[in-house]
């Protein structure tokens, strides 16, 4: 299958700061890709380069078979991270303006706009000024602006930020529908579980470098944490006893359960049997790796315990870990 986007050795610097360092990417047509990483990792810069809003200092880039997005701008839909609307413009007029700029014919454009507004439950606002809308409504309008012209490639930078759960679900179904219709979707988020819910392929970016590029399934297998979550009937105070069970390396409490880390070479199935025979359990399950865990794992390179917790907090807060091991 041809690639919707491909990048080779792309590097971008702003003054002395390296924003993106040697990224290679191949995003096949029809796939749904998630760019994840903490704030400031280089996601937006990568996306802006794909959009030809910024140009790489070095490296090759192709979008929809063309040398740059400039030549196929009308086939790309883009929802920037920094959302903008003309405050004084009416919603309908704004969407029509963007549609025209995206090369749509003015005939029938009004109907298309109305249909879309209807789908996101905003049919009654098309005569209102953009500034009169709530933030969530504005975001839905901006999403329409990015898909109005039925693009083949849709790039959404942090599409979920600032939405309530109901609208988040609505947006997720809209994105899913675009994917089902065979469009290529790329979106970025720093909230990793959102990527887990939508993507079939994850690209993880950290400090300007690509640190992971794989399907969700492969990632789960590869980053099997070899851990169980158990909830013994005796309560969480049982952790010392559980740590004595054969095959258990150590035990740490997590929310509402105990995380049991297995020793090298122990099969999870065997450990489960041993644990169940040692203590009665309310619940026992194999821990699935979350993207967060994978991310922490990659970044910390196997550091565990309190250090990893500190790292996780730092990374999720978007701050960079300046001096490793000192915390």
């Amino acid at each position: 299958m041809p690639n919707a986007v491909s990048m080779e050795g792309v590097r971008k610097t702003f003054g002395r700061k390296v924003a993106v360092e040697g990224i290679d990417l191949a995003i096949p047509e029809g796939s749904i890709y998630g760019f994840i990483g903490p704030n400031g990792a280089g996601k937006t810069t990568t996306i802006r380069m794909i959009m030809s809003i910024l140009f790489p200092d070095r490296g090759d880039l192709a979008v929809l078979g063309k040398k740059s997005a400039v030549e196929s701008k009308d086939r790309i839909g883009y929802l920037p991270e920094e959302r903008g609307i003309y405050k004084k413009m009416k919603v309908g007029a704004f969407l029509k303006h963007i549609g025209r700029l995206k090369g749509l014919d003015s005939r029938g454009l009004g109907n298309t706009v109305m249909e879309w507004l209807d789908r996101v439950e905003l049919a009654d606002v098309h005569k209102k000024k953009c500034e009169e809308l709530s933030k969530g409504m504005q975001q839905k309008v901006q999403f329409i602006a990015s898909v109005l012209h039925d693009p083949d490639l849709i790039i959404l930078d942090e599409p979920f930020s600032g939405l309530d759960p109901v609208n988040m679900r609505l947006l997720r179904s809209l994105i899913d529908e675009q994917h089902t219709n065979g469009k290529t979707v790329i979106f970025s988020t720093h909230v990793m579980y959102q990527a887990e819910q939508l993507c079939d392929h994850i690209v993880m970016i950290h400090e300007g470098k690509k640190v992971l590029d794989d399907t969700l399934d492969d990632i789960r297998t590869r980053f099997d944490p070899r851990a169980l979550h158990v909830d013994p009937i005796g309560g969480l105070g049982m952790s010392n006893e559980i740590a004595q069970v054969a095959g258990v390396s150590h035990v740490t409490p997590v929310e509402g359960a105990l995380e049991v880390i297995l020793s090298e070479g122990v099969e999870p199935q065997d450990a489960m049997k041993a644990l169940l025979s040692a203590h009665p359990m309310n619940r026992i399950e194999i821990k699935k790796p979350t993207l967060e865990d994978v991310f922490i794992e990659i970044v910390t390179d196997g550091v565990r315990g309190a250090d990893a917790e500190q790292l996780r907090a730092d990374l999720l807060a978007g701050s960079k870990l300046e001096e490793e091991g000192e915390s």
């Binding site: 809003i53 701008k73 883009y78 959302r83 903008g84 609307i85 003309y86 963007i98």
Partner: protein
């Protein structure tokens, strides 16, 4: 460059600026209304008269021969006659300003206005021989206390006139004539004071003529030289000679028109660019159009705004000139040049404004970068006098070739009485075209880099770096 996208951007830019109530009222309706109102105000000012003063004027005449003449001159009927005459003269002039008014209607309203004229009514009382000036003043002063109850308006003392004994004939040959002094009640109408003083002066003069045995009418005739219109003889023929308006007003108005039209468009361009940037709408736009297309579209849109302003003001100016019967001052070539130089000046200033707008985060930050642009803008004012005094001096000539102020200086020179040779005008246009390309090129670079830069506003050095970088 995708021209249909550029024009789409331009259309929005124009609509969002010019199709607003604020713009239409502020920039178009207001000046047009002002122009229309001026003649109306002139008529109204003439119709609305303050209540005429009525009362007594004491004349303490030491020359003993002027008082009867004053009595004749300031007789209520005579005063009224002169007022009507003056009003009719003024009305004739006004009618020339208001071409729309029909002759009949004008005639009717004139008659009505004439019958409404209220001239002051004076009672001239010669003060007796033994009268002391202080006594008269005291009488006037006493009236203030009982003013409200002054039954007979005629007794109200308006003025006291003291005429010197030698006002009408010299007592010593080597000395000049004497004069008069007037004491007035406070808060009299200007017209009343003027009428009294004028009447006294006219009367004193009249007596002087009589005493010197001169015929007043004859002297008036001797003084009168009615000037025929001066002409200039040129290669093509004769034309009206330059007068004050032609030498100063026309170049000034041309320069102001140019400055205003290009500045208005430029100012709006700055505002909308800053707005799009701070709104973050710019990235949405950049996903559809390139920075160059965006900038071009915006500049073209605001050019439309400047052009509409220029067209409206030109039209108002032409109508005004025709109304004031100075239509021969209109020069089609001149109007064409105003539009040409407008485009040149506008593109250069608009480039600067677009660059500044893209470089900053909000209008407040724009101010520091605007200072050099503002300095450029006041240059034409500073150079107006030196250029207009010597439109073809080396100084003026050189200035008129330096963009971006060249269009303003050149339009002053062209509209001055001593226009530069055609090759200089063409050369200036050529130089400015090069200037436009250069300014647009620099602006496009700053625009592209600046649009997505947020944070600390750049200084001049950073801007130069951006130009190199992009």
């Amino acid at each position: 460059m995708n021209m249909s996208k550029v024009m789409r951007v331009a259309a929005r830019e124009f609509a969002s600026t010019a199709m607003t109530k604020g713009f239409i009222i502020g920039a178009l309706v207001l000046p047009a209304a002002m122009a229309a109102i001026i003649p109306v105000v002139m008529v109204l000012a003439m119709k609305a008269q303050p209540p005429a003063d009525t009362g007594t004027v004491y004349v303490l005449d030491h020359s003993k021969e002027v008082t009867p003449i004053i009595q004749d001159r300031l007789d209520p009927e005579a005063v009224k006659g002169r007022w009507i005459e003056r009003f009719e003269e003024a009305a004739d002039t006004v009618q020339n300003f208001v071409p729309g008014v029909g002759a009949d209607a004008a005639e009717n309203s004139m008659e009505q206005a004439t019958s409404n004229i209220k001239s002051p009514i004076f009672r001239i009382i010669p003060a007796g021989d033994g009268t002391n000036l202080d006594e008269l003043k005291e009488e006037l002063r006493k009236q203030f206390a009982s003013d409200a109850g002054l039954a007979d308006e005629n007794k109200k003392v308006l003025a006291i006139i003291e005429i010197d004994a030698n006002a009408t004939k010299k007592i010593n040959e080597d000395e000049g004539y004497g004069t008069y002094q007037a004491f007035f009640r406070p808060k009299l109408n200007e017209e009343t004071i003027g009428e009294i003083k004028g009447g006294v002066r006219w009367s004193i003069r009249q007596k002087r003529y009589e005493n010197a045995d001169l015929d007043r009418t004859m002297i008036a005739e001797i003084f009168e030289i009615s000037a025929r219109e001066s002409k200039e003889i040129t290669e093509e023929g004769e034309r009206k000679a330059a007068n004050g308006i032609a030498t100063f007003a026309i170049p000034f108005v041309a320069m102001i028109l140019l400055l205003m039209a290009s500045m208005t468009g430029g100012q709006y361009l700055l505002t909308t660019t800053v707005e799009e940037k701070s709104n973050r709408v710019v990235e949405v736009l950049l996903s559809a159009v390139s920075p160059l297309e965006l900038m071009t579209g915006k500049i073209i849109g605001q050019m439309g705004v400047g052009l509409s302003l220029l067209t409206v003001y030109n039209a108002v100016g032409i109508i005004a000139l025709i109304a004031f019967s100075m239509g021969d001052l209109i020069d089609p070539q001149m109007i064409l040049l105003i539009f040409v130089f407008f485009l040149l000046a506008y593109f250069m200033f608009a480039s600067l404004m677009a660059a500044v707008g893209a470089a900053v985060n909000d209008l407040r930050e724009a101010q520091s970068l605007m200072t050099p642009v503002m300095l450029l803008m006041i240059m034409p004012y500073i150079f107006f006098m030196p250029v207009i005094r010597a439109p073809n001096s080396l100084f003026s000539t050189v200035l008129s070739f330096i963009p971006p102020i060249s269009p303003f200086i050149m339009i002053m020179r062209v509209s001055s009485t001593d226009a530069p040779p055609t090759w200089q005008v063409l050369l200036a246009i050529l130089i400015n075209m090069v200037g436009v390309v250069l300014f647009l090129w620099i602006a496009a670079k700053v625009f592209r880099v600046g649009l997505l830069m947020f944070g600390k506003p750049p200084n001049l050095r950073t801007l130069i770096k951006w130009v190199r970088m992009a």
